[in-house]
Symmetry: C2
Subunit: 501 residues, 2 copies
C-alpha cells in the first residue's frame, strides 16, 4: 500500500483514534462517536462484501437524508465500490432510468410509489434493502473483513447524478482523492476548525450539502442529519446541537427567521452569512472568506462542488472569484487554444478535486477531458485583475466570419438593457459570413425599445462582431429546464448552419 | 496529461493568469509580478534544459536566501528535475559529502572558501554558475521550451538534507503533490488568505522557512526574501512590505523587539504569535489555530514540514495536537503492530504530504516505508482524548523480558525528577531478562537524590517494567549532536545485548 494513500477510510481510521470522545453523527435518536461509526462501517462493509459488492460496483440510496448515507459511502469506499445517493422524489420513469443506467448491485430504499413502480419497470439483478429496520438488521449481521482491501485513493467512491442541461442526467464519479481535495479547499476558505458541527438539512444527493458533509467529516467534526428541511426542526437542531453551519440559502433562511420569530431557539452557535437584520441578530455573522464574500463562486458536481471561490478574490472584478488552491483554470476556445483575458471562453480546469468522468459515458468522458483539460461546458471570462466571471452555459456556438460567438454572452448583454425581460440568441445562415446572430427578445411589461436601440446597446457591452444583425420580438422564450430551447427557437426563427452541424 | 495533475508549475501558471497585478516576489531591488516570475522561470528552464538538466536530475543551490531559490525550484519542477538548497555554511568536508552524494548536474554557488575547497575535493561532472551577475546572464540567455514536458505531480522536485541523528545526512525528496498538500494544510491551520505576505528570514534550506514560502506561493501571496536574519532589516522589511508573517521564534523575536525599541518601524501588519508584552504591542496577535496554539506540533522534513498541528487539538492532552487533515498517523511497535492508546510507539504515517524517500538510499527507504507506513524514527503516544504527544527519537530499543523499552521514554521520566539535570538510559545484559535498563544520571547543581528515590520516581511516571534496575551518577552525558552518544555510554557503563545486535 502506498504511504501516500488517503482514502475516506483512512480519514475515518484516523478519527477513530484521534477523536474517540466526541460525537461524530447525530440523526434522530442515533448518536455515534467516531469509533462507533467506524464499527458500524466495518460491519456494513462485511455485509456488502458478502453480497458480492466489490471494486467498481455501485450501491444506490433512494431515500431521505440519513447518517446511513455517510456510513454506506464509507463502507463502499473501503471495498472500492461506489455509493450513489439519488433523488428519490423523481418520477418512476426517471428512477427507472437511474436503475437501468447505474445497474446497482444493492439498492437501499425508502417506501415510495415511484420507487416501487420503477423497480417493476426494470430488470435488474440487485438486492433491495428497505431503509429502517430491514437495513439495520442487514448491517448488524455483517462480519467485518479480516483484512482491508487495498483500495487506491483515485478509485471513485461517490456518484452524483447531475441535471444535464440537455438530454438524460449523468452520474459524475468522484474519487476519494477528489473528495478529500475538495474538502481541504473548503476547510481553508470556510475556516472550518476543531469543533465544527454541520447540519445537513439540504439533500445529500446534491453536491452543495454533500461537500459540507464531507469537509466536516474530514476535520473530524460533528454531523447532524435531518430527513429534509423543516424550519422549526432546523432551528431546534441548531440550538440543541450547537451547529456551526447548515445548508441554507435565501428562502430557507427567511423560513428560519419566521419559525424563530419568538426567539424560542438560540441560534447563536451558527456562524453564517449575513442576510437580514433579524437573521443577523439571531446568529453569529461569520467573517471567514466563504461567508464574508456571500458564499459565492462557481461550481459544478464534476468539480466536487466549488471550482472557484469568491472568497479567494474578494474585491475583484470577477463575480466568481478565483480557483480553489488545488485547481488550475484556463479559458479555451473550441480548438483548445487559450483565449486572452477579457474574452469569453469555455471554463476548463485541471486539478485534484476534479471528477473521474461519468459512469458509463466513455465518449462523453473523452470529450470532457480533451487535451488534458476538464471542459465544464460553461463559459467564463478572466477580468483584467485575474478574477473570473461565469457567463453562462456553453450550449451552442455561432460562427460568423470565422469568429466564435456564444449565445450566452450575447444574451447577457441583451438582458442588461432595461427594457429587455428575457432574450435568446440563435445563428441564422448568412451567405457572406456563414452565420449571423439573431436575437429573440421579450420586452418588459410596459417597456419599449426598437431593434436598433437594442443592437446599439449590445455593441456598447461586447465586441461589435457579436451584436445581433437582427432582433425579433416575442411574447416568451421557450425553455428546456433553465435554458432556452434552442431547437424550438431555430425552428421558429430560421436558425441553422451551425459549425460542425 | 491527467486532468488531476497539479504541479508547482500549474500553480504558477494559474497565478500568472489569476494574479497579474500584484507582487509575487521582493528581494532587494528585485520586484516581480507573477507573470514576470513566470517569464523568468520559462527562460531559466530553457537554460537548464540546454545544459542537459532533465527528469530526475539534481540542481544544487549553495548560497544565502534569494528569490532565485524559488525560481530554480519552479524551473527544475517544469523539467522533472530536483532542486536542493543546501546549507552553504557547512565545512568543506560536509559540502564535499553533499556534492558526492547528490551528484548535481548544475551548482549555483555564492563565493565561499569552504565551497571552493569542497569543489576541489570532488570529481564531479557539473556546471558551476556563480550567483549574482553570472547567474543572471545564464538565466537571461535561456530560450523557453516550445512545449512543456509532461511531468507527473508525484515526481520529486525539492531535496532537503536532514540532519540524521546518527551518521551522514540524507536528502529527503519531496514531490509536487507532497508540497502542494502540505501547503494546503498550512493554509488551513494558519488561515492564510488573499493578500498574505511572508518574509523568508530563516534559511531556505530548512523546511520551516520553505514550508511557509511554498504555502504563500500556493495562495498567490507575496514573498519577501532577505539573505539572512538581521533584526533591523527584518523590521524594515515588515514595515515596508506590510508582511503578514515571517520566520521567527523566541530569540529572533527578542532581537526584533530590541531593534525596534524606538518604535521606528510599524510592525502592525505582522499577524503573529503572542510572545511578550512589548512584542504583542508592536504586532497584531493572530487568532488562527496556528498562532493561538503557540505554533506547535510535530514535524520533520520527511513529512514536508508539519505532520501534526497543536492547533488541531487545542485544549487536548497531547503536546503535538492532531495530524494534518491530509495524513493518518498510527503508533506502531517494532513488529508493525499498533500499540494501544497510552502506550509509546513509533510515530508512523500515511498521507499526501509525505516524502518520496531519500535520494540514493534504497535500503533505508525500504525500511522507512515498511508495511506501507512511513516510519518517522520518532516515538509518540496517543493520549486518552486522541491527541498525540511526541516522546523523543527512537534511536535504540531495549528488550527486557520480551517487553520493548525505549530509552527516550525512560529519559523523559527521569528528567521530570527535580534533582535530575540530564539522563540517558542504556540496556545492559541480564541473564534472566535478556537486558535490563540502566540509567546514567547527571544531578542538578546542589541537588541530591539517591538511586532508589530516582527509580521510585520513574515507577510513578511510567509502567514499572520500564524503570531502571540500576542508576549510576555522572558529571555529564556524552552527546552526538542533540542526543546521547549511546555507543560511548555502552562502552563506559557496560551496555549490550540489544535486540537484533
Amino acid at each position: 500500500m502506498s504511504v501516500h494513500r488517503l482514502t475516506l477510510g483512512d480519514v475515518l481510521s484516523e478519527h477513530r483514534r484521534g477523536r474517540p470522545l466526541g460525537t461524530a453523527v447525530v440523526d434522530g435518536d442515533v448518536r455515534l462517536s467516531y469509533p462507533e461509526l467506524g464499527d458500524r462501517v466495518d460491519r456494513l462493509a462485511g455485509a456488502l462484501a458478502a453480497d458480492g459488492v466489490g471494486a467498481g460496483d455501485r450501491v444506490l440510496w433512494l431515500g431521505q437524508n440519513s447518517f446511513r448515507v455517510l456510513e454506506l459511502l464509507l463502507a463502499c469506499g473501503s471495498l472500492g465500490a461506489v455509493l450513489c445517493p439519488a433523488n428519490w422524489r423523481q418520477s418512476a420513469d426517471e428512477l427507472a432510468h437511474v436503475l437501468d443506467d447505474l445497474t446497482p448491485r444493492l439498492v437501499v430504499w425508502e417506501e415510495s410509489e415511484a420507487v416501487e413502480k420503477a423497480r417493476s419497470q426494470v430488470s435488474l439483478d440487485a438486492r433491495w434493502v428497505r431503509s429502517g429496520e430491514e437495513y439495520e438488521a442487514y448491517a448488524a449481521a455483517g462480519v467485518p473483513l479480516a483484512a482491508e482491501p487495498d483500495v487506491p485513493d483515485d478509485a471513485p467512491v461517490l456518484a452524483l447524478y447531475t441535471a444535464a442541461f440537455d438530454g438524460r442526467p449523468n452520474a459524475a464519479l468522484l474519487s476519494h482523492s477528489a473528495l478529500v481535495a475538495h474538502s481541504m479547499a473548503l476547510l481553508h476558505v470556510r475556516q472550518m476548525e476543531d469543533g465544527f458541527a454541520f447540519l445537513a438539512c439540504g439533500p445529500l444527493f446534491h453536491v452543495g450539502t454533500m461537500m459540507f458533509t464531507l469537509a466536516t467529516f474530514q476535520i473530524g467534526g460533528k454531523l447532524v442529519f435531518t430527513p429534509a428541511y423543516e424550519p422549526t426542526e432546523v432551528c431546534r437542531l441548531i440550538d440543541a446541537e450547537r451547529c456551526t453551519q447548515a445548508f441554507l440559502f435565501g428562502p430557507m433562511i427567511d423560513g428560519l427567521v419566521e419559525a424563530n420569530k419568538d426567539r424560542r431557539y438560540d441560534l447563536s452557535s451558527l456562524r453564517f452569512v449575513s442576510h437580514s437584520p433579524e437573521w443577523d441578530e439571531m446568529i453569529t455573522v461569520d467573517s471567514s472568506p466563504w461567508c464574508a464574500s456571500g458564499m459565492g463562486g462557481y461550481g459544478q458536481t464534476e468539480a466536487g462542488g466549488m471550482l472557484t471561490f469568491l472568497g479567494l478574490g474578494m474585491g475583484g472584478a470577477g463575480l466568481a472569484g478565483r480557483p480553489s488552491p488545488l485547481v488550475h483554470v484556463r479559458l479555451l476556445d473550441p480548438s483548445g487554444a487559450e483565449v486572452p483575458a477579457g474574452e469569453v471562453g469555455e471554463i476548463c480546469a485541471r486539478g485534484h478535486s476534479l471528477f473521474s468522468g461519468y459512469w458509463n459515458r466513455p465518449a462523453l468522458n473523452a470529450a470532457k477531458a480533451a487535451g488534458g483539460w476538464h471542459h465544464t461546458g460553461d463559459l467564463g471570462r478572466r477580468e483584467p485583475d485575474g478574477t473570473l466571471t461565469f457567463i453562462g452555459p456553453r450550449l451552442r456556438m455561432i460562427k460568423s466570419a470565422n469568429e466564435n460567438i456564444y449565445p450566452a454572452e450575447v444574451e447577457r448583454a441583451l438582458k442588461a438593457h432595461p427594457a429587455v425581460a428575457d432574450a435568446a440568441v440563435i445563428g441564422v445562415p448568412d451567405e457572406r459570413f456563414g452565420q449571423s446572430p439573431k436575437a429573440v427578445v421579450v420586452l418588459a411589461d410596459g417597456a419599449s425599445a426598437t431593434a436598433e436601440e437594442i443592437i446599439e446597446h449590445v455593441r456598447g457591452e461586447i465586441a461589435s462582431y457579436k451584436k445581433p444583425r437582427e432582433v425579433v420580438f416575442a411574447d416568451a422564450i421557450p425553455k428546456k429546464g433553465y435554458t432556452p430551447d434552442y431547437d424550438a427557437l431555430d425552428a421558429a426563427h430560421g436558425g441553422g448552419a451551425y459549425p460542425g452541424a
